[in-house]
Structure formats: C-alpha cells, structure tokens
C-alpha cells in the first residue's frame, strides 16, 4: 500500500464521518484563527505606535523644561519651569558645539483664537524657526514655509495646518488670506500637508508662525524670551546618542548646573517612546497569544479524542484490514495521516478565517490588524504537528489491536 493509497483511505474515512471531522477541524480552526488574529493585533498595534512616533520626525530628541524648585523646596511638575531659551537653541544649533545635531527647532505653543472674516477657530499656535519643517518631518501642500527673513523681522505670516485652514476658510487653497491672531492680522503664507494624528493630538490642526512673531506679537509675560520645547534632529540614527550627550552637556553648562540630578530640563529620545509603547503592546500580544495557544491545545486534545473514538468505532474495520494483511505499521500510518489531515485542514481553514478576520476586523474596532506571514505559515505547521502529535496515541492503539479481538467485537 503506497502513501497515496493510505492518504486516499484516510480521506475516505474523513468523508464518511463528515460531521465529526468538521467539528474536530473547527476546534483547530478556532485556535489557529485566534493565534493569527492576536499576533496580527499585536503587530498592528506596534506598527501603529511606531508610525505615530515616527510622524513626530526622524532621529528626534525632544528637550522639555524641567521642574521648578521653589525656595521652600517644593518642586513643580514636569515642564513647569520656563528654563529653555532661544539662546539655548542657538547654542545647540552650532556645529562646533554639537556636531551630531543637524537641526534645532525651538518652539512655543499656546492656544489662541484665530479669526478669519466671520469664522473663528481655536487652535494651537506654534511659534518656531524655519527648521521646524524638516525637524518635524512635515511637507507643504501649498505656498511656502517660514523663512529666516520672516524670523528676523518677526513678520506677521502664518502657515496653517490642513484642518485649521478648512475650518477657517472652508478650503486649503488659502494662501494670501488674512487671519487675525491675538488681535494682530497675519497673512497666510502656506498650508501644511496632512500628516494624521499622534495619539490624541491632531497634527493637522495647528497654525505655525515665526518664533519672533510669537514672542513679540502673541505671547505675554516671561514667555517673551523662553521657549517651551526644543526639537533637536540628530544627523543620523546612530548619531542619536551622541547628539543626546552633546545637547545634555551643553545645556547643563549653559544653565550652570553641575549636579545632573538637578537638571532643569528633560531630553526625551524618540526611540525610547517607541520602546515604551512597543513593550506595552508586546505584553498584550504575549497574553493574547497565550490564550490562543491554549485554545490550540484544546483543539489538539479534540483531535486525540476524536481519533480514539474513531479507533474504537472502527475496531472491526481495523481487525479486517489486519486479517487481510495490513501490517501494524500501516494501520498506525493510516490513523496518523488521518489525524494530521484533520490538523492540516483545520490549520488551512483557520489561516483563511484569520486572514479574512484581519481584513474585516479593523472596520469594527479601531485597531489595525497586521498579517504576519511567519505567524500564518507557523500556525499551519503547528496545526499539522498538533494533529500528528495527538494522533500518535490513538494510532498506536489501533496498530496494537489483536486482529481476533478486533474482528470479534460487535
């Protein structure tokens, strides 16, 4: 009897017991689909977080003001101090001081009401320098971005985000229009290309003006000389850590701080944001995959159970086959193939359901589901292996049946 004959016999047996085979396959199917979907959800979440963080800009360091310490020793929270100045940013931009820093974008940000004709819209007004565009990895959809001349003259010009432009003017084709911010009329110089959201912040709802204009025409009080955040772009990904060191030591020196624990600023690495977010979603993925693996195990036990039932039910058939000259190894092979087929069919159908689920699921939940080819092929292999492993015991039972006992039973 060839392998092909044995395969045909096993298929025949599965066909004869359609309902039972279908239910067994269902057990495996659910396990495999669950594995593919949970792994897909995990990878999808990771990719989403990575994309969001990368949307901030590439090779980015974010310098925020540190905490304030009052005379009583009471420390304010993160970002409460106004310790960063434009001078800090200028120092960091020097290629002598910090050769690994490619660009620096000091920014201030405040919520302001923008008025254009009869419509008004409250948004975050960002005051910054021309390098902001490249540091934040943004592009223009129309007009031009701020120039050094705008910055030098504190020109009343504004670059709008796509959402802001639409809210104010009903379109994004608004170059040359006038917008009033904090009582000062600004001319729209350009419109940013959409870039989506980072977490809860809509990157397209913003108005960018020269830092000098923000300090002189919009802000009040101490914020006239300070900046809220300095975005620093390293020259390359490997240069990120040396850029960090340079920025850190330069700022400590500028601020006259000797004890690093008293630093009045915080430098956040973009990569560390990715790592934190990824580790959260990784934990979730491991947890969900564990549950999926258990369901796969249950499916495997289902295969064993069905195969044992099958051996018992077909005891006469096994006896007859032995009487007609089937060697024990052949009987074992037949049942092993049958169990593996159950696993394989379950795996293939489970993969199909998983793939369909990955396409359909994002329409119902907000999370993206990524299809991972290693997960798909891995789980099909695992399904086959489960059928094989859980088929060993029933197949051995069948092979060891004495032909007379098998023939005798009714």
């Amino acid at each position: 009897m060839t392998w092909l004959d044995t395969l045909a016999t096993s298929l025949e047996a599965m066909r004869t017991h359609r309902m039972r085979s279908a239910l067994t396959v269902l057990g495996i199917l659910i396990g495999i689909a669950a594995v593919i979907l949970t792994v897909g959800l995990g990878i999808g979440a990771q990719q989403q977080v990575t994309a969001q963080v990368e949307a901030l800009g590439t090779n980015l360091l974010i310098i925020s003001p540190g905490s304030t310490t009052s005379t009583t020793g009471l420390r304010g929270g993160f970002g409460s101090a106004s310790t960063l100045t434009q001078a800090d940013a200028q120092a960091l931009a020097s290629p002598v001081v910090a050769p690994d820093i490619a660009a620096v974008a000091p920014t201030t940000s405040s919520s302001q009401s923008l008025v254009a004709g009869s419509s008004n819209w409250t948004t975050s007004v960002v005051g910054t320098t021309p390098s902001w565009l490249s540091v934040r990895a943004r592009t223009m959809s129309g007009g031009a971005f701020l120039t050094n001349a705008d910055q030098a003259s504190a020109a009343p010009v504004v670059v709008l985000g796509a959402t802001t432009a639409t809210e104010l003017f009903g379109s994004t084709d608004v170059v040359g229009q006038s917008v009033t911010i904090a009582g000062t009329p600004f001319t729209v110089k350009g419109v940013l290309a959409p870039s989506g959201s980072t977490g809860s912040a809509n990157n397209d709802d913003t108005a960018v003006i020269p830092l000098s204009a923000a300090q002189q025409r919009v802000s009040t009080g101490t914020s006239r000389t300070t900046v809220q955040t300095i975005y620093v772009q390293a020259t390359s990904q490997p240069a990120l850590s040396s850029a960090y060191q340079e920025a850190n030591s330069e700022l400590l020196a500028l601020h006259g701080i000797t004890n690093t624990t008293n630093a009045d600023f915080t430098i956040t690495n973009q990569a560390s944001l990715v790592t934190t977010a990824a580790s959260v979603s990784k934990t979730l993925t491991v947890l969900l995959s564990g549950i999926a693996a258990i369901s796969l195990l249950v499916g495997g036990i289902g295969v064993m159970n069905i195969m044992l039932v099958s051996v018992t039910e077909r005891i006469r058939e096994i006896g007859l086959r032995k009487a007609l000259g089937a060697r024990p190894s052949l009987i074992r092979r037949q049942f092993l193939i049958e169990a593996s087929l159950l696993g394989l069919v379950g795996g293939l159908l489970g993969a199909a359901v998983g793939i369909i689920g990955a396409k359909v699921l994002p329409d119902f939940i907000s999370n993206p589901v990524a299809l991972s080819m290693p997960a798909i092929f891995g789980s099909i292999t695992v399904a086959l292996a489960i059928g094989l492993v859980f088929g060993v015991y029933p197949a051995s039972r069948a092979a060891q049946l004495a032909p007379i006992d098998a023939l005798r039973s009714e």
Partner: protein, 249 residues
C-alpha cells in the same frame, strides 16, 4: 510485502497445505485458565475441502483463528504451506495472512464505504500491487464469482448472498494456498446459502484448498472430509463419499 507474492508456495505436492501438530491454546482470564484447544493434530492436503464441525465451545473458532494466523498457539507447531508460522513475528504473520490465506467471514466484513471492486482489491493493496493491476485482478475475481456487473456497487446495494460472493472474490484475489471460511452461510437465507456453497464446490473442482467451519450438517455434507471437534480435541475425522472430492489416500 511484495517480495514473495509471485513465488509459488515452497511445499511439494505431497506436502500438506496446513499441518497442525499437537496444537494447544490456553486462554488466561485473570487466574482462570481455559484450554480452548488441548492438542489438535490435523493435516490438510492441497485440493481438499474440509469442514470443521463442533458445538459452540468446542474450540472450533479458536482453531479457525490459529489456522488463519489471527492468533498463535500456546504450544505445538503449525506449518502453513511449508512455513512454520507458530514462531513468526507480527509483520510476518500479516504477510502470511495477506498472501497465503483468503478469509470468508460470517459477517461478510466488507467495508461499507468502498465499492465491491475496491473491497476485493484491498488485500492486493496491502501486497503492494499497482493500482491498475489491482483493478484488473479485482474485476477478474468478481467475474469469477458471477458479479462482473456489480463491480461499482457498494455493499449496501447488494444482497446478503451477493455480499458474501464479493467476500469470496476478495478471498480468491491473492491466489492463496488456503481459503478459510468461518460460518460463511450463517447469515444467509437458503437460496443464498446454496449460491455460496455452489461457489465453494466450484473452488474445490478448480483444485482449491478450502477449510470451512460450520455447525450446520447440510453445509458440512458438501465437504469431502469432516473434522469433528469437541472440548478442544478432534473426536472424528472422516472422509465422505461425496462425488468430486479429492481426498488423498
């Protein structure tokens, strides 16, 4: 498994097809020992048609299992077609059953999901014969039992008598040295019984060796030789004067 299918059995014409010598079989059921066979000696020559008779509990089923290599004797020796099968491994026994013995059972024991031809071809599949050859030989065997037009029928579509004839075709298909029938007419009506017994007569006329186990006298009466069994011993072994029987002197 294919190795010696086409090699003729290694006995000379004077050698017995099967030769049991003082065969005993003891079943152990916990601490209880039951002797089903208590020293059976039996020789069957080629071309003989032998009926084994006995009441239930006489050991005739056990004898049939041992003759059919479905079970091994506790003591004594058993030669089938010149080979000592009482010391064979499980795989060797499987090959002997496959090639040397054709079984006909009371319950027909056909696989319901397969066609008549596939059922008949099953022993050939275990012998490693190619698919095309299997088909050809199975159809020839079915034609021999008069079922050439039932090749593609499943057992459920056949009458009891036809099913048993399919089983006989299956027993014949490997050209075995011995046809072993266990109550082959036990589940058949009188017409089908006559059909199947006529078939056995034809097999005897064609020179086949047939051992038939039965408790029915009129079935046994068709055989050339009747071996009576009681309490695990042969009580009577007589050659009948039936026309056409080929009992060697």
């Amino acid at each position: 498994m294919t190795t010696y299918l086409n090699v003729p059995p290694t006995f000379h014409s004077s050698d017995a097809v099967l030769s049991l010598s003082d065969v005993t079989k003891v079943y152990r059921n916990g601490s209880l020992e039951v002797a089903a066979l208590r020293g059976v000696t039996l020789d069957v020559q080629p071309g003989e048609y032998v009926a084994v008779m006995g009441p239930s509990g006489s050991g005739k089923s056990t004898l049939m299992h041992i003759i059919g290599c479905l079970d091994v004797p506790t003591a004594g020796s058993y030669h089938l077609a010149g080979e000592d099968v009482s010391r064979m491994s499980e795989n060797e026994l499987a090959d002997v059953r496959n090639l040397r013995i054709g079984f006909v059972f009371q319950q027909f024991n056909l696989l319901a999901s397969m066609t008549a031809a596939s059922n008949v071809a099953l022993p050939l599949a275990y012998a490693g014969i190619s698919r095309a050859d299997r088909r050809e030989r199975a159809e020839a065997s079915l034609a021999r039992v008069g079922l050439a037009d039932r090749v593609s029928h499943r057992p459920g579509e056949l009458s009891g008598g036809q099913q048993q004839r399919v089983a006989v075709a299956r027993a014949l298909v490997t050209e075995p040295a011995l046809i072993l029938a266990d109550e082959p007419t036990g589940n058949l009506d009188s017409t089908s019984t006559a059909d199947v017994l006529d078939l056995f007569d034809e097999l005897r006329d064609a020179g086949r060796t047939v051992v038939l186990i039965t408790h029915e006298h009129d079935v046994a009466a068709r055989a050339g030789r009747i071996v009576r069994l009681r309490d695990g011993l042969v009580t009577d072994d007589s050659v009948q004067g039936v026309a056409g029987s080929r009992v060697p002197s």
